[in-house]
Symmetry: C2
Subunit: 207 residues, 2 copies
């Protein structure tokens, strides 16, 4: 783990990342290891190897940093799903691909940012944008599940979305997980929950 107050405070980034990325990485680590409420902007800046003034140049504060981190766990999946919608694969193949993509996103990075979904602060006004984006992703799943089943099914969507996001809890209990194994396994499981036959599943995996 990086030491607080390391020399970089006045020098160039040692990580090779932009200053903004250095701040996000440092904050993610502190939020996940020390807790959101326990992480001061002072500590985030020290961990990122910059001054607090520099940090405030990039972010309005701690809430703003957490919001950015949370959005990064859902926005790419929404964008990916919108891209999929323009392709001509059948709905089950698109749902499989989205599940696998989403699981990879939730497993990406050193820190389990999804674990912050559950902190009380995220229920507040400052995180409405995240909750809206999360709801948007849920709506994408809802439409895909409806297309697979031939009928809208909120209960099935809940099962599917829960199975994808379950990696957040599993990451904590099981430790490091291999996304190359877990992402297709969860995508397969999602289609089995929706009663897609194994023969069809084999065809989908071959897309």
């Amino acid at each position: 783990m990086a030491t607080l107050g390391r020399p970089r405070a006045k020098g160039p980034s040692r990580s090779g990342l932009s200053t903004e990325q250095d701040i996000l990485v440092a904050a993610a680590r502190l939020f996940c290891e020390a807790g959101y409420s326990g992480a001061s902007t002072h500590r985030i800046a020290a961990e990122a190897g910059i001054s607090q003034a520099t940090m405030y140049h990039y972010f309005a504060g701690k809430q703003d940093i957490l919001l950015r981190l949370l959005l990064a766990t859902v926005r790419p999946s929404v964008t990916y799903a919108l891209g999929l919608a323009g392709r001509d694969e059948p709905a089950d193949a698109r749902l499989w691909a989205l599940c696998a993509y989403d699981v990879r996103l939730l497993l990406a990075g050193r820190d389990n940012i999804g674990s912050l979904y559950l902190i009380p602060e995220v229920a507040g006004d400052a995180f409405a944008e995240f909750r809206a984006e999360h709801a948007r992703l849920y709506a994408v799943y809802h439409d895909l599940v409806a297309a697979v089943l031939g009928v809208p099914d909120a209960a099935a969507t809940g099962l599917v979305f829960g199975l994808v996001e379950s990696v957040i809890l599993r990451r904590r209990a099981e430790g490091e997980m291999d996304a190359d194994v877990v992402a297709p396994a969860i995508a397969d499981a999602v289609l089995r929950v929706l009663r897609v036959a194994d023969q069809r599943l084999a065809a989908i995996r071959a897309f």
Copy 2:
């Protein structure tokens, strides 16, 4: 929501619960609504309508209260599973029953105590007993999944356990969930993930 410092401080419980239960209920609410680190023993006692001295008569401190709350989300399921083991239902029927029981347990109570699994403090020594009990429950699932599939399968166990615990995340995103609907739906989904045929599933639900 109960008011801080309500008259009960010197009178009998208005909840009809024991003082110990009053403390657990008050602490669960504070931990989930204000965060674990933000909840002082002073505030827990005030919320429970008792003095701090009385609180310390029942619990060694805040950690002790959280440990008790966390254990209450896993121990009953372990006990239930051990009871199931003595019955002569086939493994798939026992797994179905355990999943449904476990989901009901995780959905029980006003507060989503499972959401505290992910806070950094729970990774510490003070919560080793919870993590051991959680691992014990996982082992029970592993054995049942192995009995259903005819072979041990850690990947399948991870999917199953994740699907059951996904209600922790769903409770936050979806709001109040009806356990009578969600518990059997998740138990069904678990068996579908394990490729139990729908005909067999109908027979299991009739047990």
